[in-house]
């Protein structure tokens, strides 16, 4: 069971700090967009990772780069859950809230449970800043925060004082106050500090005075905790007992990028990424552009369409074409995905989903592109769809997507989302000798009668057509978006041929080999099955643990492959009396499963731009088990 830090007694003035052991803690750093909260959270995450905790993170920031200072829309936060056991989510609610200004306090205080610890930067609590966010009275001055353990710290003043000797101006000095906060929290949770100091010196290598200022602020925060008497207790969260292996911390976007690098090496093919910047997918481009030494070409195109067009052109030439985007970009790329379906060339399309429709919520998460991925093209244009379940899982998902694209000569859609993309967790680094061989052979010889080449003569098992790349003598051929005659690939408007080709393209995708779905039903007595896909994996898993701890039985299953669906899914759904599908959309997977399997599934949906909370799903599942909810 978790021990809430809020359960502690009020601070005692003892000089020798008491050390209390916890099994898990959720910390949320919140401040203005310009306060460096994402960096602060990232660093604390790295410290937790270096210490060996299991962890999960939830960055939450506005779409504006710098919304008006000190306002509610400008609040940026980073939530981190770390533990001594394997955890599944970034946590429902913080145990500790660090609020750097009144806006951050106002936007986040409702999530802090009674007894929770609140650390406030008092320097920003001026009359003007309070008025800006609608506080008539200073909440630090009345009893509105009485139910929390409040620590008032003049972080800017203390930071400025610590940096006096550096000669930095007031403004520059105060900018390091986020490192003061990090130092204080690092002290409170016994975090290792060498990594952060090294990081700061590397990050600001070209500005040694700024690097030094940040290190000084970080140490000042640490020392503040150590020397003042306001913090009586420090906390320890022991390393997690994860499976044996070497771990690192990784975000979903980085894991996708590494998956692409690895896929190129395993397939022995050059990678061409054709793409256009879009939130929250751009970091994949940024990461890949650093790894050209692996034979990766990154092409930042003039638009989404050119990005995928170049990727498909490269695939035609025998490279592995890739494109990365979010929902609005998929809308623009649809026609080219259709061409890839028609020309039957390998291509991987990554959609890091965000809130929609239209521009929607660029920095928030959602799963509402599923049906677009499945059906968002003209004509019968089936495309395999795979979805990672967590940040670290992106690596394996990418290798699977590439396997399908290369084996079956088809575009493959990878559906990540904003919370996976920016969230991070420990990843057991695979040994490359354990990774699958993804190599494929190009066509080299004519395959038709009289030494001719038939570009649409299919492999009898996979139904894939030959991949004949330019430069191969004797295989000169023409392909395109027009319907083609079965076998020869020549243009054909014949009605029966079209019917046959539509069915062949569908049969090829339906026949893709995907692993069976695995049901987690520890007691074997569950009658309710919760089915998830994508980033709902964590909240569903955490909710199921809570439900089981409360004495109920529940089974869970998670779909990595949504097209085609696992072969055992039909029987599995039929063997439970109730199927529940929580989704961050209005029931898109539920629609698919109902249509395909005639299953009377309960669709539970939420589109708030944030992941489900485990507690929320716990109640949903419990209600259904108890026969209450059938919505």
């Amino acid at each position: 069971m978790s021990v809430d830090v809020g359960d502690t007694d009020s601070p005692s003035p003892a000089a020798d700090h008491e050390v209390r052991k916890l099994d898990r803690v959720v910390i949320r750093f919140a401040g203005d967009s310009g306060d460096g909260m994402q960096l602060t959270g990232d660093r604390f995450t790295s410290e937790a990772a270096a210490f060996g905790n299991d962890l999960a993170t939830l960055p939450n920031f506005p779409a504006e780069i710098r919304a008006p200072q000190g306002t509610l829309p400008g609040v940026s936060s980073f939530q981190l859950h770390f533990a001594d056991y394997d955890i599944l989510t970034p946590g429902d609610r913080p145990d500790v809230l660090v609020a750097m200004n009144p806006a951050a306090l106002k936007a986040n205080i409702a999530d802090l449970p009674p007894g929770g610890m609140l650390i406030v930067n008092t320097d920003e609590f001026t009359k003007r800043n309070l008025t800006k966010v609608g506080y008539d009275e200073d909440p630090l001055g009345d009893d509105s925060l009485a139910s929390f353990q409040v620590h008032k710290v003049a972080m800017a003043t203390l930071t400025r004082g610590a940096l006096e000797s550096t000669g930095l101006g007031k403004k520059d000095a105060e900018r390091a106050k986020n490192m003061f906060a990090l130092g204080l929290l690092s002290w409170m949770y016994h975090r290792p500090t060498e990594g952060t100091e090294r990081f700061l010196r590397e990050k600001f290598a070209r500005k040694p005075d700024i690097a030094e200022a940040n290190v000084l602020a970080f140490r000042a925060g640490w020392n503040y905790g150590e020397t003042t008497e306001s913090f009586a207790v420090t906390y320890q969260v022991a390393p997690a007992k994860l499976a044996t292996g070497t771990y690192r911390q990784i975000t979903g976007n980085t894991a996708l990028a590494y998956g692409i690098v690895a896929a190129g090496q395993l397939a022995k093919l050059p990678i061409v990424l054709g793409t256009y910047p879009i939130t929250p997918a751009s970091d994949i481009l940024h990461e890949l552009s650093k790894h050209k030494n692996f034979g990766i070409t990154t092409f930042q195109a003039e638009d989404e369409i050119a990005g995928i067009g170049a990727a498909l052109g490269a695939s035609y030439g025998g490279s592995l074409g890739m494109t990365t985007t979010s929902g609005p970009g998929i809308a623009l790329k649809s026609e080219t995905i259709g061409l890839a379906v028609m020309t039957e060339l390998p291509l991987v399309v990554i959609d890091v989903q965000r809130g929609g429709p239209s521009t929607g919520l660029p920095t928030k998460t959602e799963q509402a592109d599923l049906l677009q991925a499945m059906f968002g093209r003209n004509g019968e244009a089936p495309v395999p769809v795979v979805a990672p379940q967590s940040p670290a899982d992106c690596f394996r998902t990418m290798l699977d997507a590439v396997r399908i694209a290369l084996t079956y000569r088809t575009p493959v859609l990878v559906l990540s989302d904003g919370s996976i993309a920016n969230g991070s967790e420990p990843w057991m680094v695979p040994a490359i000798e354990d990774l699958p061989d993804l190599s494929v052979a190009f066509a080299t010889e004519p395959n038709g009668p009289d030494g001719t080449f038939w570009p649409y003569l299919r492999d009898s098992e996979t139904l894939a057509r030959p991949w004949a790349v330019p430069g191969t003598p004797g295989l000169e051929h023409r392909i395109g978006g027009l319907e083609k005659q079965d076998g020869t690939g020549n243009i054909s408007y014949d009605p029966d041929n079209h019917d046959k080709m539509v069915r062949l393209r569908q049969a090829k995708i339906d026949g893709i080999s995907v692993p069976d779905v695995v049901v987690d039903d520890p007691s074997g007595e569950a009658s309710v099955l919760v089915v998830g896909w994508g980033s709902t994996f964590g909240p569903i898993g955490a909710a199921a643990r809570r439900v089981r701890n409360a004495g109920h039985h529940v089974a869970t299953a998670h779909l990595r492959h949504i097209n085609p669906l696992p072969g055992n899914l039909s029987d599995m759904l039929a063997s439970y009396s109730r199927v529940v599908i929580p989704e961050m959309n209005l029931g898109q997977l539920a629609l698919l499963l109902r249509a395909k399997f005639l299953v009377d599934a309960v669709s539970y949906t939420k589109v708030a731009g944030l992941p489900f909370k485990a507690e929320e799903l716990q109640h949903v599942i419990t209600d259904i088990i108890e026969g209450g909810m059938t919505r």
Binding site: Y247, A262, K292, N293, F299, I305, G317, G471, E476, G480
Partner: protein, 356 residues
């Protein structure tokens, strides 16, 4: 951050493409597919010219790729016995860019039309020209939408009466050569479907250019815009309208070479004069190699949609590193300076170990 400096290109457009030692003929470049353009279509003449000129390049046929968009002219790849992709409306330059960047051993040709290249695909065209990807773009301009049966195009003259504009079209047309030069294209030329000799010369120069070569080809659509360029063929009209360019030569035209192109001090541009009035020394000597595109742009402005004067030949041919060469140089440099150690990449710098 510094870009890779390749210096001025020392390569030609065909360097790096495997050559064929045996003899090729036009027949080798004809595919087995029946050509399905309308009788009298200008596309036939261009196809014949391309099939006839390809053997001169001496390349391996399998290392030539034709990429097209959508439209009548975009059926072109089906009729060439090379590799070919008939892609999406307007997107051929995008596909061809991915192909050219990843395959320096291919001669990549884009076949497009005035609607495909300048309307739906305008964005890709302009960025391809800006980047200077090693592609040869043949822009068939018939000033009409043919495949959708006769709507006005972005090169149709103002007031064009078509199915979609019964009261006349309203938009000002593009001059494709001006557009290309505005994007600082490194090779820009114009020719006519009916002038086999000049067409072949221009195609050859385009093939040998390293970077994007844009060739506008005036092409007759006998069904929906017949005779659009007829004044450029009629013996009486032709000579006083067509201004042929020859590098290093004074720009003279007319049946008796009685007209010339001169600098216009009033506008800073170029204008047409009678040589007898200004003297031969005042006539501009054509220099396609000027780095400043202003001169070539001024030349392009002599041609309006009334075709009163139509400049043909190579407007501009200059050396600038091509995008694909630069992109490959970056990958090469990265490979030479950093080993491709996948395990080290996956591990990163901050790992921890969980023991039994």
């Amino acid at each position: 951050m510094t870009a890779i400096d390749l210096g001025l290109p020392t390569l030609g457009g065909l360097d790096g493409i495997p050559t064929f030692d045996g003899k090729q003929t036009a027949k080798d470049y004809k595919s087995d597919q029946e050509v399905r353009w309308c009788p009298g279509c200008g596309d036939y003449a261009v196809l014949a010219a391309v099939q006839g000129f390809m053997p001169q390049l001496g390349l391996k046929r399998e290392n030539i790729v034709f990429v097209s968009g959508i439209g009548c002219s975009s059926r072109f790849p089906y009729y060439m016995n090379t590799y070919g992709v008939h892609s999406i409306h307007g997107r051929a330059p995008a596909l061809a860019t991915g192909l050219a960047v990843s395959r320096p051993d291919l001669s990549v040709w884009v076949v497009t039309g005035d609607g495909d290249a300048l309307s739906i695909g305008g964005n890709h065209l302009m960025h391809t020209l800006r980047r200077n990807v090693n592609l040869k773009i043949l822009l068939f301009n018939n000033r009409i939408y043919g495949l959708t049966k006769g709507q006005y195009s972005p090169t149709s003259e103002i007031g064009k009466v078509t199915k979609s504009t019964p009261m006349g079209s309203l938009d000002n047309p593009f001059n494709p050569v001006s557009l290309a030069l505005g994007a600082e294209a490194t090779f820009v030329a114009r020719t006519l479907d009916s002038d086999r000799k000049q067409l072949t010369e221009v195609l050859r120069a385009a093939a040998e250019h390293r970077g994007t070569a844009l060739v506008e080809i005036y092409q007759n659509c006998p069904i929906f815009n017949d005779g659009a360029f007829e004044v450029l063929r009629e013996p009486g009209e032709r000579d006083r309208r067509i201004i042929p360019l020859a590098d290093g030569q004074p720009i003279l035209f007319g049946a008796e070479q009685e007209y010339g192109v001169v600098r216009d001090p009033a506008t800073g541009g170029l204008s047409v004069c009678k040589v007898a009035e200004v003297g031969l020394d005042a006539v501009v000597i054509h220099d396609a190699g000027l780095m400043d595109p202003s001169y070539a742009f001024a030349l392009s402005r002599l041609t309006g949609s009334d075709l009163a004067h139509t400049v043909t030949g190579v407007f501009r041919s200059v050396n600038r590193p091509s995008y694909d060469d630069l992109a490959r140089a970056q990958v090469k440099q990265a490979r030479e300076t950093k080993p491709a150690d996948l395990q080290a990449l996956l591990r990163g710098n901050d790992t921890w170990t969980v023991a039994d």
